[in-house]
Each structure stands twice: as structure tokens, then as C-alpha cells.
Symmetry: C2
Subunit: 401 residues, 2 copies
């Protein structure tokens, strides 16, 4: 049996088929007391979190995996919301029965981050103090705040120690934060295409995206709810993002200098090259599904993220970590490059944290973690099997007199 047999590539055509989690529903949970105390010094209440759950929690409650989404993701990680859905959840290739995050073995939880716009409390929601949308009165939230909110959700779901936390890109940052913040509450971390801190270049790209949104005349200082939204600015921000998600190599292979539906240069400012068409399409599609203020808040959370914040060093930050680590990078990812993963791995090793590190040779850039990849799937699958064996191997000891 080959890797590809064990870890099948996505089956959007097999709606509800044997390898899909099938129909799923986004659920919602709200807490209001005590309020969530935030890093910025303010507090948030009520806090609603949208989440999805797949698979069965074991009687020992020791098989739950918390998946964190990336910048523009949501709780809908796998399966379909309705028979009309053309597309499954954002990591359906990795989550389902027989897949890397095997819902026949594990209970999968994924929640939308606070500050987001996919069901969890964010700037588009009504501020109970004023009865109007928060807009820019929404408090600044950090990766740590997002994690603290999700810890309450996981507790509410009756899980006190997760088998694993995982995510790619920003999702990986939440996973790292969890492992440092709640060392007793997780057995393993799968940190994929991520970094222990956002780089100066990452901050720079985020800042330009924010400036593009704020430059849009429809942004109105964030008070655009119920009127024209800052479409053009948000589209530009998204286009910048998309350039950073692809490798130059992949952009060359995918588009090169090919023209879009024409044989010759038009010598005008219409779309001429395929790569322009791709970016405009991505930009325009994005504004239909995402709130511009959420984009501002979540990119700021990324900027603030440095696992060493409040510590003298990254090595010191990781001192209390108890989880085992799988760290994965992709060779052509220049936004979260292998060097960033290696820096994390060195700091883990300095703390004698059991760590497995893979750089997967791949041409797809940062986007690679969202694409079918047999090596990623196989690595995740076997790492999780080992973690479960370790957890269950120890558990009986605790019950022996």
C-alpha cells in the first residue's frame, strides 16, 4: 500500500463519501463572565466562538486535536455545509476518515479566531456598550488572546488535555502559543509553515495591506458597516498576500508572461497578463467573504506575535514546554522560510524538547501547506499515531495502584 493509498487526495466529487466527514455544521458558544482579559489591557465580553467538531471524543477524552486556521480561514476545516456546497472545508484534504487527521481515530476541533468575521466575536459585531458595530472600537487582540479564548472553548467541551494542537502559517503561531501558555494541556504540537515570530518583512507586507484598506475612501475610519465596504483597498491587500503565498518558481510555472485571453499586447490598463487576471480574481473574490476591519485586526495580531515576548529569549520562552513537536517547512516558502522553522527547532532542542523536523521539497511556496501533499499527510499521520501510542502507553500506568 502506497502513501497515496493511505492518504487519499481530496475527494470533492465524493460528497459525503467514505473519506469525507460529510455534512457538518458550524456551532457557536458564548461566554460573558468573567470577561476575557486581553493583552492590550482591555477586556472583551461577551465572547462568541464559532467552531466545528468532527469525530468522536474517546471516553478518556484523550484523542482531541485542535486545529487553528490561518489569517483568512474559519472553523469550517472539513466536510460540506450543504449539498449545494461546491467546495469542502479549507483542510478537507487532511481531515476526514482515513486521512492524516483521521476522524475515525481523533476528535477534531476548529474554531474561528476572535477578531475574525466567521462567527466569532470581531469588529463587525455589535458592541453591547453602544448598540453599534465595534468597528475600530474593537479592542486589539493578540495571538495569545485568541488562544486564551479557545482554551475556554476547549474546557467547555470537556477536554482538559489535547492530543495535539496544530496549524499552518498563523495557525502554527497559535499552536506554539498554546504549547507555551498551557504546557499541561497538550501532548504534541504540529507547527507547519510557521515561525516563532513574524519577520520584519512579514510586518512590512501586513502594513502595506492595512494602508491599502485605510486608503480606501469607503473605509471611513472603519465605520463602513451598512454602507459601501472598502472593496478596492481590501482587494489590494489580498493581492499583496497572494503574491507572498506563491513562490516565484510556481508563479513562473503557473503564469509566466502568458497573456490572458489575447494574442497580443493591448497597450492599455486592462488585464493583459494571466498573473494580473489571477490576482484581480483573488482580490475580488476575497472581498465577498471577508471583513476589512478583521483583516486589519488579524494582521496586527500577526505583527505582535513573538513567542519570546515577555521572555529573555525564545529558548527561555520554551522552557516549560512538555509537548512533543513536529515542525514542517516547505523549501520554496519565502514568507515563512525554512530558516524560521530551524530557529524554532534549535530553541526546542536547547530545551531537550523531543522534536521532529522536516523540510518538504516543494515548489508551491507558502500555499503548499493547503495543497495535497503525500509527504505532509504521511508525516502528520505517523507523528500522531506515535503521540497517541505514547499518551495511551502512559495512561494505564496512572491507573495502576
Amino acid at each position: 500500500m502506497s502513501i497515496d493509498d493511505k492518504v487519499p487526495i481530496d475527494d470533492a466529487s465524493q460528497f459525503g463519501g467514505s473519506r469525507s466527514v460529510g455534512w457538518v455544521e458550524t456551532q457557536s458558544w458564548t461566554f460573558d463572565a468573567p470577561p476575557l482579559e486581553l493583552d492590550c489591557g482591555r477586556s472583551l465580553s461577551p465572547v462568541t466562538q464559532a467552531y466545528e467538531l468532527y469525530g468522536e471524543l474517546s471516553p478518556e477524552r484523550d484523542n482531541a486535536i485542535l486545529i487553528f486556521h490561518a489569517l483568512t480561514g474559519d472553523a469550517h476545516v472539513a466536510g460540506y455545509h450543504s449539498p449545494e456546497d461546491a467546495k469542502p472545508g479549507w483542510w478537507d484534504i487532511m481531515v476526514g476518515p482515513g486521512k492524516a487527521f483521521d476522524t475515525a481515530k481523533y476528535a477534531i476541533i476548529c474554531a474561528n479566531v476572535i477578531g475574525g468575521c466567521k462567527g466569532s466575536t470581531g469588529p463587525a459585531d455589535v458592541d453591547p456598550q453602544t448598540g453599534r458595530p465595534y468597528a475600530l472600537h474593537f479592542p486589539m487582540v493578540t495571538i495569545g488572546d485568541m488562544v486564551r479564548a479557545q482554551k475556554q472553548l476547549v474546557d467547555h467541551l470537556g477536554v482538559h488535555k489535547l492530543l495535539a494542537v496544530t496549524g499552518g502559517s498563523m495557525g502554527g503561531m497559535l499552536a506554539l502559543d498554546w504549547a507555551v501558555r498551557y504546557p499541561d494541556a497538550v501532548a504534541s504540537v504540529l507547527a507547519i509553515a510557521t515561525s516563532a515570530r513574524l519577520s520584519a518583512q512579514g510586518i512590512a507586507f501586513n502594513e502595506v495591506g492595512r494602508q491599502a484598506i485605510m486608503a480606501d475612501v469607503n473605509w471611513c475610519g472603519g465605520n463602513y458597516y451598512g454602507q459601501e465596504v472598502p472593496r478596492a483597498g481590501l482587494a489590494v491587500a489580498r493581492m499583496i498576500g497572494h503574491i507572498t503565498y506563491l513562490s516565484e518558481e510556481q508563479m513562473h510555472a503557473k503564469f509566466g508572461r502568458r497573456l490572458q485571453e489575447r494574442e497580443e499586447f493591448g497597450y492599455d490598463f486592462e488585464t493583459e497578463f494571466q498573473v494580473e487576471s489571477y490576482l484581480r480574481y483573488q482580490g475580488n473574490r476575497f472581498v465577498e467573504r471577508f471583513d476589512a476591519n478583521s483583516y486589519l485586526y488579524i494582521t496586527k495580531a500577526l505583527d505582535y506575535f513573538d513567542l519570546a515576548n515577555g521572555h529573555r529569549s525564545l529558548v527561555e520562552a520554551l522552557e516549560r514546554v512538555q509537548a512533543h513537536f513536529l515542525v514542517v517547512s516547505f523549501s520554496s516558502d519565502w514568507l515563512y522560510p525554512t530558516a524560521a522553522s530551524k530557529e524554532l527547532v534549535r530553541a526546542l532542542q536547547a530545551n531537550a524538547v523531543p522534536t521532529t523536523f522536516f523540510e518538504i521539497p516543494n515548489a508551491y511556496g507558502h500555499d503548499a501547506f493547503l495543497l495535497p501533499n503525500a509527504q505532509l499527510a504521511e508525516t502528520v499521520s505517523s507523528f500522531l499515531a506515535n503521540v497517541q501510542q505514547r499518551v495511551r502507553g502512559r495512561a494505564p500506568e496512572l491507573h495502576t495502584p
Copy 2:
């Protein structure tokens, strides 16, 4: 004598000193008949070109070097316009008596490209047909059109064969185009931090910059002359550019995650990180000196540029080349990477064109070609000396009966 003695680093403090070309003036030349026929099928008339001249043309008129500027440059390559000038021309470190482009030996010409906004005819100028600024009625211009315009200027100056054409980035593209278009009219090409075609990634960044300008409510379809200009959009475009001009390594060294004039996070949307401050400063400064429509036109010229346009391959395009080549790349330049220079060098070698290639190890990214670099200066200096020797060695033969 060390390289640094021979090729002194910039001397902005020595205004008019022994190593500066001193006070210089931008001159202007206009032609109107016949009109300039453009690649887009339209024509342009009158065509004004702003230019500067330093050094003395030899009696044989065999020592002229044409320097082409990059995207946002101008004709003011060296020296000072007035005693109040705080900054010399954009390549003053390379151009002057005793410098790499030694004005004691060579006559240096640099002209603003058409489509620009620094004295040469561009979209901000008055369209004689309407009496109003061209704005988006300005015809699309290509790198080839810019070169054809400058050929007329060089002819007008009485130079029929240049000792060298040179430039970095877009300037290098103009130099390559000249060598292919006018093989008899140039003895050497110094192609620095450039490429024989703009990459898909380069087109992508340009397109996002254009979208940011066009999304600015003050852009008004290009008809903003005499009213508010699209400051915010142009600033965003420039900020995107600046990210691509720096290497990640240099951005990390220059800014890292350091905060700007504060000790702790402010948790607001003001400037927090030094890298944000740098980008905002660059963006805001740029809008004071550059016309947004020129930015649109010149980035399109970059997008269209492929030396192989109209040929079956790059190798075929270079078939008629007679010049000797110096090709220089910088190791950390990811916008015009070494791979692009190597592709050019392979195509030159396939045509048996005498070519010297250097990759200069350097952390400064694409910006490196504008910064003091002893290795670049020394390489240019000795390459030019060899070319002059070759040219003068042959010239007497032509005069022997």
C-alpha cells in the same frame, strides 16, 4: 593603493569637491518631426527629453556613456543642482572625476525616460490636441520606445557610437534593448541588477501597485491634475516597491521587530514597528516627487519588457549584438535575482558575445546597485578601461590608408 582609494565612496560633504561633477544643470531637447512612432501603434509629438551631461566629449566622439535610470529615477545622475541641494544625483557615488564612471575620461549622458515626470514628455504634460494634460490619453510606451527616443537625443548630441550603455534594474533593460536595437551604435553594455524580461512576480507586484493607485478616490481615472492627487494610493504602491528592493536579511538587520519611539506595544493602528515607520516615510516622501500616472505607465513598460519579444528566443534576439557585456547581479536581490542574470549570460554566450559576469555577495537586496560598493565600482572601472582600450586600439586602423 586599495580599491577604496581608487574608487572613493560618496562625498556629499564635499560639494563641488575634487570628486564631484559639481554644479550641474538639467537640459532639455524637443523634437516634433517626424513624430516618434510607438510600439502601441500610436505616435508621440512633440517629444521633449530632459538630460544631463558631464565630462568632455573627445574629439573622436568615442568616449560617451549613456546611463539609463530606474523606475523612479531621473536625468540627475550626479552632482548638485544648487548650493542648497542636500543630496547629489542618484548615482553620484559612481559618476564623477576619479569615480567608476570617470568624468575625467568619459562623457556621461543621462536622460529622463518618456512617460516619466522629470522633464521628459509624460502623462502630466499638455496634450497639444486638447490643450489639457494627457493623463490616460497618453499613449502606452515601452522600453523600446524610451530607447528610440533617447537614440534621437544621442544623435542630436553628435554621438553616433556610444562607448557604453548602462543602467541598473529598469535602466539595465533599456541598455539591453539598445544593444539589440542599435548593435552598431554601442561598444559595450553594463547590465546591472537586471533581467532580459520582467518575471511573473515582477508583473504581479507592479499590478498591485497600479491597483492601489487606481483604487484611490483621488485618482479620478487619471484626471487629477490641478486637484488633489492620489497620494494614498501612490504611497501604497511605493511601499510595495520598497519591500521588494530590500532583502529579507537586510530588513531584519535594519529594522528587525524593533519598535519606533516606544518601549511597549501601543495596541493601536499607529506606527509601532520601525519597519512600518520606514515604509510610511518612503511612501509619503515619494508622492511629493512623483506623478501617479507616470508610475502606471512606467510599470506597464516594465511588464511588457521581454528582450525576446518579436524573436523566437532570447538567444535569437541577441544574434546581432556586437557590444561586449558586463553583467552584474547581487546575491540577495530577489526581484532581479542572479538566476535572471545567468539566463541572460547563457544567451549571450550562445551567441559568442564576449561577456563578463559577476555575482556580488551582498546583503542589501535589489537596492544594492544604488549603494556604495567597492567591488561594483572597481569592476565597472576596469571593464570600461578595457573597452576604451579596445575601441581606441581599433580606431586608428580605420584611419590608416
